[in-house]
């Protein structure tokens, strides 16, 4: 993948859709200092997605894609869920394999890229929902942490299997009732961020997407640490407003409320990760 893939033949430019032309002319490529403050002006790497109106997950996608320090050399591995509906609309290389094996696929891609392009920096990022990360794909996720694969894992936690009607997941909070979990969940929410630390992640963060700049900072830190040190994990709360019975304009309020409760900002980093982050801060990249 390279930026050249978006170069349009001059003779055909007048026939191209304006979104594709914008992708060449107005998207922020080749600038490691790109961030969420480009959003009001530039063409985003995401185009008209099919998520619900007001879905906080789509805001998370905007912030993450705007924060990638090296989008033209980034490969995103995703898994089944609402997130997988968005990937056909993203202007980057994305890979969708079986439900739950996203971290195994990402490990393989990262290793091959290191072997094939030893002189280039290639980022491999996993974007998956809570079911893929903690229930169905827990094995592959933790194994990639144990093996110290240099990938960034980002979990969109909406605390329910949302697009299949509302079954409880490992990350559902104890007692929560959904359409397909009428008795309420009997067990506690899995503390996956703590498990990630114990499994060998060098940078772990837990937050909601109510603050774009905070998301940008966390994503950049996670990617830079994954490049040099080892696995990193970011846990984002993106509530499903339909399944918890909120209106389309209530998502942000819900996240601001949980900012003070169970999704209070939490960050962990090892000494090696601190060194990398400090160096990148001095270079002005974070």
């Amino acid at each position: 993948m390279s930026f050249n893939i978006f170069k349009i033949n001059e003779d055909l430019k007048e026939f191209m859709p304006p979104e594709i032309v914008d992708l060449e002319e107005k998207a922020t490529w080749g600038n490691p200092k790109r961030g969420v403050m480009d959003l009001p002006y530039s063409k985003e790497l995401l185009e008209e997605h099919s998520l619900c109106a007001g879905c906080p997950e789509s805001a998370a996608f905007r912030y993450i894609l705007a924060s990638l320090p090296n989008p033209e050399e980034t490969i995103i591995v995703n898994s089944t869920g609402c997130t997988s509906l968005v990937f056909p609309h993203i202007a980057l290389h994305t890979v969708h394999s079986l439900f739950g094996n996203q971290n195994a696929i990402a490990s393989g891609i990262k290793r091959v890229l290191e072997w094939r392009f030893p002189d280039k920096v290639k980022d491999v990022i996993v974007l998956a929902g809570d079911g893929a990360t903690v229930d169905i794909g827990l094995d592959c996720t933790l194994q990639s942490f144990f093996r110290q694969e240099k990938i960034t894992t980002i979990c969109f936690d909406n605390e329910v299997y949302a697009n299949t009607g509302g079954q409880e997941s490992g990350l559902t909070v104890k007692g929560h009732v959904f359409k397909m979990a009428p008795k309420g969940k009997q067990w506690d929410k899995v503390p996956i961020w703590q498990i990630a630390i114990d499994s060998g992640c060098h940078y772990v963060a837990r937050l909601t997407v109510s603050s774009p700049k905070k998301v940008e900072k966390v994503i950049k830190q996670a990617i830079y640490v994954a490049r040099e040190v080892g696995p990193t994990y970011v846990h984002l709360y993106t509530p499903c407003i339909l399944e918890i019975g909120l209106n389309s304009d209530d998502g942000l309020e819900e996240m601001r409320r949980t900012d003070k409760e169970r999704f209070k900002f939490f960050e962990y980093m090892t000494d090696e990760a601190k060194e990398v982050i400090q160096r990148k801060k001095e270079e002005g990249l974070i």
């Binding site: 185009e47 998520l51 389309s248 304009d249 998502g251």
Partner: protein
């Protein structure tokens, strides 16, 4: 017949906050122009969630965005 967001330009130009453009869940829908210093909505992409109105009116108390029927929007004001 559905609602879309519309920026009240005279109100919006008083501030330089751009917060609505960050919190809108739709990509490239609420944009900002430095030429005339206000946000604007690309109506074809707006799903009408009204999150921008929550940000502008409830959080920031600036009341610079309103929801209007798509048919009744200020066509001259849409870029």
């Amino acid at each position: 017949m559905y609602y879309v967001a519309q920026v009240i330009r005279d109100e919006c130009t008083k501030y330089n906050c751009k917060q609505c453009t960050l919190f809108c869940p739709e990509p490239n829908t609420l944009m900002y122009t430095d030429e005339t210093h206000h946000a604007y909505v690309l109506t074809e992409r707006c799903k009408g969630c009204a999150l921008c109105v929550y940000v502008c009116s409830n959080l920031l108390k600036r009341d610079s965005i309103e929801m209007v029927y798509a048919e009744n929007r200020d066509v001259a004001g849409v870029r």
